[in-house]
């Protein structure tokens, strides 16, 4: 597989580190109180995944290169990779 780093351009998959589902919204910082509703939000954010068979928005880091984190859409049914952001 080849992934395009938005800074360095297309590179071999072995230069990257995977960062998981990027479609999930991290709860904003500073909102964590002690209530249980909050717990639920965080539970869902950390533990639940859509894990789709098809387009998947995900994080990658060009860890052996410029160390940039970026997102791209990859089709999990074919591994076809889209443009990075």
């Amino acid at each position: 597989m080849r992934l395009a780093c938005p800074h360095c351009g297309p590179r071999d998959y072995s230069e990257f580190r995977y960062g998981g589902d990027a479609s999930k919204q991290r709860p904003p910082h500073g909102t964590t109180g002690h209530g249980t509703g909050d717990l639920q939000t965080w539970h869902d954010f950390v533990f639940l995944f859509d894990n789709p068979k098809g387009p998947h928005l995900e994080y990658w880091q060009h860890v052996l290169g410029c160390r940039r984190w970026f997102t791209l859409t990859r089709n999990t049914a074919t591994n076809e990779v889209g443009e990075p952001k």
Partner: protein, 418 residues
């Protein structure tokens, strides 16, 4: 005459025209079943067998989208063991190993359960301590385990790299003599044949495409071969767990990742144990056919393609040659992938779901093959009684909400981390 034995084999040898009966029928689906099991892998088939055997429930269908055993039960590295240290895992996997020990008899199908022992090679004194903890827990739970020092490992596995050149030294090992391998396909076929004989319908080429859910209760499934009604529906689709559960509106702590596996040309017996390595996840055994069967880590990203990345293939070959330098001249025959249902803590689910009468079995990560008998056993219990067996009570969906993770390997709640 359907029982398999040396005698029946001889009779067929003498009379070549005597037809063998089918191992399992291929019936047309009925309109309705008491229990519909989605997924004809090891777990689905075992569940059907134990539903019939332990609970007398036989009006059961297994729906398999392809051929039975087409999933991970047919593509794993066949290691069975019960060296688990965290809470519920210990008893569950030991129960499984005990069932393995009697499985060929139970099924009247030789599953080639080979208790040749598993040796996990430690590469540092610290790792020896970590292994000791595991081994002690095993012993305290009536499970066999031995701690080996370097000299003992040299005797058992003379072909490892003990030279100064080795990147990591062999410090010792933990050994479970009762661990070993089983013939993966036979497990699927044996369970299928047994379930079929008990009256279970095994329906291949039948993909579940949706669930009929009324008032929060499941009443049947939609399939590529039409609607099938069901009193209860049990999911056991391994790598496709999220995909199928989503049809019932469930979002799960599961990600699907590819794990690759490898087999070499057949050789005369040379590796007599299951050998694993503490430097990196790597495990190798020799199949009865003679091929070295081995594997490593997941590739590390979500995918449903059963093809892996070559970079990972290199990692695994590097492990093989570094740990066992003789393998350098052995030729790789074939490599393939399977889609693993990875959970954040590495432990599975066998449980009820928020949808009534819908049950879930999944999240098996690297370990679902060895779990097959106990998984079927406890899942059948859960389905039959609408409540978990003592052995699978902790394999629940809400354990992350509760903070009740079972992190066997100590890698934290991060599915794709290796």
């Amino acid at each position: 005459m359907s029982k398999y034995s040396a005698f029946s084999l001889a009779r067929h040898a003498l009379d070549p025209d005597l037809p063998w009966p089918r191992a399992w029928r291929s019936p047309e689906p009925k309109a309705s079943y008491d229990v519909v099991i989605v997924g004809g892998g090891g777990h689905g088939l075992a569940t059907a067998h134990y539903l019939a055997k332990n609970h007398g429930i036989t009006n059961v269908a297994i729906l398999e989208r392809s051929y039975i055993g087409s999933g991970n039960v047919g593509r794993n590295t066949t290691i069975i063991r019960s060296n688990y240290q965290m809470g519920a895992n210990t008893g569950f996997f030991e129960h499984s190993l005990k069932l393995w020990e009697g499985l060929s008899h139970d099924l009247n199908f030789n599953c080639m359960v080979s208790q040749r022992g598993q040796v996990v090679v430690a590469v540092s004194p610290v790792q020896m301590d970590v292994f000791a903890r595991r081994g002690n827990i095993m012993r305290l739970n009536g499970i066999d385990a031995e701690l080996l020092d370097r000299g003992e490992v040299m005797k058992l596995l003379p072909y490892l790299d003990y030279s100064k050149d080795a990147r990591w030294p062999v410090c010792g090992a933990i050994h479970q003599p009762r661990a070993g391998t089983a013939r993966h396909d036979a497990v699927a076929w044996g369970y299928a044949r047994s379930a079929d004989m008990a009256g279970v319908d095994i329906i291949e080429n039948c993909e579940v495409t949706g669930f009929a859910i009324e008032n929060g209760k499941v009443t049947g499934v939609e399939t590529s071969r039409g609607r099938i009604n069901a009193g209860k529906v049990a999911i056991a689709v391994a790598g496709h767990t999220s995909h199928v559960a989503k049809m019932a509106g469930l979002r799960l702590p599961v990600e699907s990742h590819i794990l690759q596996a490898f087999v070499t040309e057949p050789l005369k017996p040379i590796v007599h144990h299951v050998v694993s390595w503490g430097a990196e996840l790597f495990y190798l055994s020799q199949s009865d056919k003679g091929g070295l069967v081995f594997g490593g880590h997941i590739d590390g990203f979500n995918t449903y393609t059963q093809r892996g990345q070559f970079a990972k293939i290199r990692d695994v070959a590097e492990c093989a040659v570094s740990l066992m330098p003789f393998t350098s001249r052995v030729r790789l025959l074939r490599h393939w992938g399977g889609i693993q249902d990875m959970t954040p803590d590495g432990s599975p689910f066998i449980c009820k779901t928020p949808v009534k009468n819908l049950y879930l079995n999944g999240g098996w990560c690297y370990q679902g093959f060895k779990a097959t008998p106990a998984s079927g056993w406890t899942y059948a219990h859960t389905i039959a009684n609408d409540e978990p067996h003592a052995l699978n009570r902790d394999f629940s969906l809400d354990r992350f909400e509760k903070g009740n993770e079972l992190d066997e390997f100590g890698i934290g709640n991060w599915t794709y981390k290796q």
